[in-house]
């Protein structure tokens, strides 16, 4: 089976590279840790149905071990991942890292971190791709192919379509909930003021079916999105992984974590070395290896491969991630309105703030908070718990959350390296320093957005706005940038790694810049492009 192309990792990049290679009739062997998703509990029930029908709903929602219970002494970043998604982030206990200014997440789940994504599928336009070795025209067909594979709904003609070029396979947008519909209505009145500020509001592009696709049905608004879509109307990479498994040319080898590649003296990768949970190492021969383990894991594999071959591993620079700011707001017109549990839970609206250059475009996602657990929010209000609950009940429908994303670029200060760790092993060292002008860029962006929201009748109290730590947005990229003419530890336009022959990178590692639009759709499209052009 050495003619098979070896793909490492089953995240969005890995499965779309694999699916494309299989469609071309090539054989694929995928190495993956691949922790499986637990069975969906009672898929026929709605969210409230779960509360009514499960024998102990508290156990389902809060966890057997109270994982999703947030008591007032909790520290650190609150991700709000429910117990049913804990498997996505459960890491082996012996993972050794040194981090400075960066709080990374890793995943060993089948489907990768995107198993817990929120579905934003935003194509990069020519301006976003400014410093890339190709533009929208070259990438557009691959966006279209991915869209047909995964199912994307959204508008192709509202104001935001200007920022999201239209590709093939776009389904009509989901029906908006009351809150989103109201915001759009107010926007049509405030539109002049928004446009004057370079700002627009429109329907979100999301990987959620508004129409059936293949065996998958359209979204029926169970309200269970955050706990894991019970019907796969909401796309995650494990859907594509399952489709690959139906192909005879596909061999899936889960339970194996690739630690490094065996590189011969001529500098060519000959095999991937993977470790099983029991510590046993196995060697997988291949002359074409596609690394799609995710930016940080891929960096680790490459660096470890260099170290094992006896050379000094390089220190990679240019690590990127989107700075994310959470801006909760209250829509005054909806105070005291009853609350609709049967609705789509992730963002239904997107917002763009255009300040000229690619790096200055600010991308926002508007989520109307509905079925998230309320106890983490109520305890953060500045009153007694009784009053906080009374206030919250009347605020619930009126609450919204604007998730603001800022672009990033490659800078020499942001490094990923390998250093000696515990027990004679190595560990990954990650260091991130925000851009010098970031406070100014973020501050002025937020002030403008707050004013614009006010124009829609929404108040975003500044003290509730929270900047998330770097690493929290999980949009890691940039360690092996695609450049036309680069030295070692860069990639060419087909993702081919310079420095070790026979290796292609198909994940975020190769992004030369990181626009503010969620990168996952482009990960999939770019992996599809690489799988089409490289082999």
């Amino acid at each position: 089976m050495t003619d098979a192309i070896l793909v490492v990792g089953s995240g969005p990049s890995g499965v779309h590279a694999a699916a494309t290679l299989l469609a071309r009739g090539l054989r694929v062997r995928m190495l993956d840790v691949g922790r499986p998703r637990p069975d969906v509990v009672r898929p026929e029930l709605s969210l409230d149905g779960l509360k009514r029908e499960l024998p102990d709903p508290s156990r389902y929602f809060l966890g057997d071990d109270w994982e999703a219970l947030v008591l007032n002494d909790a520290e650190g970043e609150y991700y709000g991942f429910p117990p049913s998604k804990q498997y996505v982030f459960a890491n082996p206990a012996d993972m050794d890292l040194r981090i400075d200014g960066f709080a990374p997440l890793f995943s060993h789940a089948a489907g990768g971190l995107a198993e817990a994504w929120t579905g934003g599928t935003y194509p990069f336009d020519d301006r976003d791709l400014e410093s890339w070795p190709f533009g929208w025209r070259e990438l557009a067909p691959y966006y279209g192919r991915v869209a047909q594979r995964i199912g994307i709904s959204g508008s192709d003609r509202d104001d935001m379509a200007r920022h999201f070029p239209v590709h093939e396979g776009l389904q009509p947008p989901l029906e908006p909930d009351v809150h989103s519909a109201r915001l759009l209505e107010r926007y049509t009145r405030a539109r002049g003021r928004w446009l004057a500020q370079g700002a627009r509001l429109g329907r979100a592009r999301v990987a959620t079916l508004s129409q059936p696709l293949g065996h998958r049905n359209a979204c029926h608004r169970s309200g269970r999105c955050q706990w894991g879509c019970p019907t796969d109307a909401f796309y995650t990479p494990s859907v594509t992984l399952r489709e690959c498994l139906d192909d005879d040319g596909f061999t899936y080898v889960p339970g194996h974590e690739v630690t490094h590649l065996a590189v011969d003296t001529a500098g060519r990768a000959r095999a991937a070395i993977a470790r099983r949970a029991d510590g046993h190492e196995e060697r997988f021969e291949a002359d074409r290896i596609v690394l799609a383990a995710g930016t940080l894991a891929t960096a680790r594999i490459v660096l470890e491969s260099v170290a094992r071959s006896g050379a000094e591993p390089p220190e990679l620079d240019g690590l990127m991630d989107n700075r994310q700011v959470m801006m909760p707001f209250v829509n005054l017109a909806l105070l005291g309105r009853p609350f609709e549990p049967k609705s789509y839970q992730y963002h239904q609206l997107a917002l763009g703030l255009d300040r000229g250059g690619a790096r200055d475009y600010v991308h926002g996602l508007v989520t109307t908070l509905t079925t998230a657990l309320v106890h983490p929010i109520v305890q953060s209000l500045p009153f007694s718990m009784r009053t906080s609950l009374g206030v919250f009940r009347n605020l619930h429908t009126a609450l919204g959350l604007l998730n603001v994303n800022f672009a990033d670029d490659r800078r020499p200060t942001n490094r990923v390296g390998l250093e000696p760790g515990a027990d004679g092993r190595t560990r990954l060292a990650i260091c991130y320093v925000p851009a010098e002008d970031e406070p100014e860029r973020v501050g002025s962006g937020l002030r403008t957005l707050r004013r614009l929201l006010l124009g829609l009748g929404c108040i975003a109290p500044p003290m509730m706005t929270r900047e998330r730590p770097m690493g929290a947005s999980v949009h890691y990229a940039g360690t092996f940038p695609m450049v036309a003419d680069g030295g070692d530890w860069t990639t060419d336009a087909t993702g081919r790694l310079r420095g070790i022959d026979g290796v292609w990178l198909a994940d975020g590692s190769t992004f030369p810049t990181l626009p503010s639009k969620n990168l996952t759709f482009t990960l999939m499209a770019n992996a599809t492009r690489i799988a089409e052009e490289a082999f």
Partner: protein, 448 residues
């Protein structure tokens, strides 16, 4: 034979670390506490003697010839000058006299770098400590005086005060914020105190600081960084007028002030340790600063012990308080399961009493809730209410009570919100003085 330690202030933050170090070193300890039973639950291996420094008759007999006395007990924070004098100066005088009478071998006095701050206005703590140092130096026993800098480490009271400042959207910094600090971890201080106590008496003052010296502004930034917050935005306030203002209102409002005029001395003086060969010996073994700034593990006090009948009653009372009806069976089952699997501990000695009030129902519960929201927002009662809310929102009989708005239109909603606001203010106005007084009188609330 190993020396025996006689420790005062052992139930405080530094004292706890000293006891840990003594336990690890196999050094026998007799310790003085005002509430020996509570202290015993934290450190069961220690021989505890109950009593107040001011009442030597109750504890003097526990001193033995050859003991090393480590005197940590002190009022450090918000207290009027006369309390500082009574506890910090007169308490030291009483302990010195009793130690000398018992023929103790060595008197280790834990003071503070604040003693030599050039700028000590409105700082009764520094005055009283300086007076106590003189008593020790001129006293009858061989002595060592230790002056720590700012004491930090998970759960350190001073650190939590700074963390509270650092956690604000705008962090108030009094004056230019250029004063230096050199925070030392309580764990290091405990170990170093043990070494000094077992060494021959130094007959000198040894100042102990941590591994890094930094400006106050940077110090606040470090706390924010370690606790996962962004860069601080500093709000510079004039130092001298703030101190004068605080000094003027302190006699009336002490309990509710987040800090005192005296504590502002930190902003006016460099709080760094004078280098000393003893400190240099251990410099490389100190905790890195970032590890000292982590948030406290809650429940440093032992978990409460409550039977299921009490917890069930408590669950009903708090449910009535939150949503105006009895707790459904599923909520009670979850409440009991959590208390079984993850017993909740208090972080402040007053919390047991606050919980007892909350269990009474009606206005008492409302007052306890309102008090906890302002004074102990991460305390035991708050955590119980949050747990209860999480259960209520996930059980079939109660989740609609968490989701549903009040009936009526927009006007009713606004009136309802206004009524809630007034109610909150009224209850808080009752609760803060009333419970604040009880909190203030709770023993051990301000040992260092």
């Amino acid at each position: 034979m190993a020396r025996r330690l006689f420790v005062t202030g052992a139930s405080g933050f530094v004292g706890g670390h000293l006891l840990d170090a003594a336990r690890d070193g196999g050094i026998p300890v007799v310790a003085l506490a005002r509430d020996a039973e509570r202290a015993r639950r934290l450190h069961p291996a220690v021989e505890w003697v109950e009593g107040d420094l001011a009442e030597p008759a109750r504890w003097a007999a526990a001193l033995a010839p050859g003991d090393v006395v480590v005197h940590l007990a002190a009022v450090t924070g918000k207290a009027p000058a006369r309390v500082h004098d009574r506890v910090n100066r007169e308490g030291t005088r009483a302990l010195l006299a009793a130690s000398a009478a018992a023929d103790a071998a060595h008197f280790v006095f834990v003071s503070s770098v604040a003693v030599r701050f050039p700028e000590q206005r409105h700082y009764p703590y520094a005055h009283a400590k300086a007076a106590a140092e003189r008593l020790v130096r001129e006293g009858p026993l061989p002595w060592t005086i230790v002056r720590p800098t700012l004491v930090v480490g998970p759960g350190a009271p001073v650190l939590e005060s700074f963390a509270m400042l650092a956690g604000m959207p705008w962090t108030p910094v009094f004056g230019p914020g250029n004063a230096l600090v050199q925070p030392i971890d309580g764990r290091d201080l405990g170990r170093l105190l043990l070494v000094l106590a077992l060494d021959p008496p130094a007959s000198e003052v040894i100042e102990l600081g941590g591994p890094e010296r930094l400006r106050l502004g940077d110090w606040i930034g470090r706390i924010r960084a370690v606790r996962g917050r962004g860069r601080p935005r500093l709000l510079h306030l004039p130092l001298a007028p703030t101190r004068a203002l605080l000094a003027a209102v302190e006699p009336l409002l002490l309990r509710w002030l987040p800090l005192t005029a005296g504590q502002l001395a930190t902003f006016a003086n460099d709080g760094v340790a004078t280098p000393h060969p003893f400190a240099a010996r251990f410099a490389s073994a100190l905790q890195p600063l970032d590890s000292s700034l982590a948030a406290p593990t809650p429940g440093r006090l032992p978990p409460e012990i409550a039977d299921e009948a009490t917890l069930t009653r408590e669950c009903h009372t708090l449910t009535r308080h939150l949503i105006g009806r009895e707790a459904p069976d599923g909520v009670i089952a979850g409440y009991l399961r959590h208390h079984r699997e993850r017993p909740l501990g208090a972080t402040d000695p007053f919390e047991a009493s606050l919980l007892a009030r909350a269990r009474r129902g009606g206005l008492a519960t409302r007052m306890a809730d309102a008090y906890a929201a302002r004074v102990l927002p991460r305390g035991l009662l708050r955590r119980k209410l949050t747990l209860l809310l999480a259960l209520l929102e996930t059980q079939p009989e109660s989740y609609t009570a968490i989701d549903a708005p009040d009936p009526g239109g927009t006007l009713r909603t606004w009136l309802g919100l206004a009524a809630r606001g007034f109610g909150e203010v009224a209850v808080a106005a009752l609760a803060l003085p009333w419970l604040g007084w009880a909190h203030w009188r709770t023993p051990d609330r301000h040992t260092p």
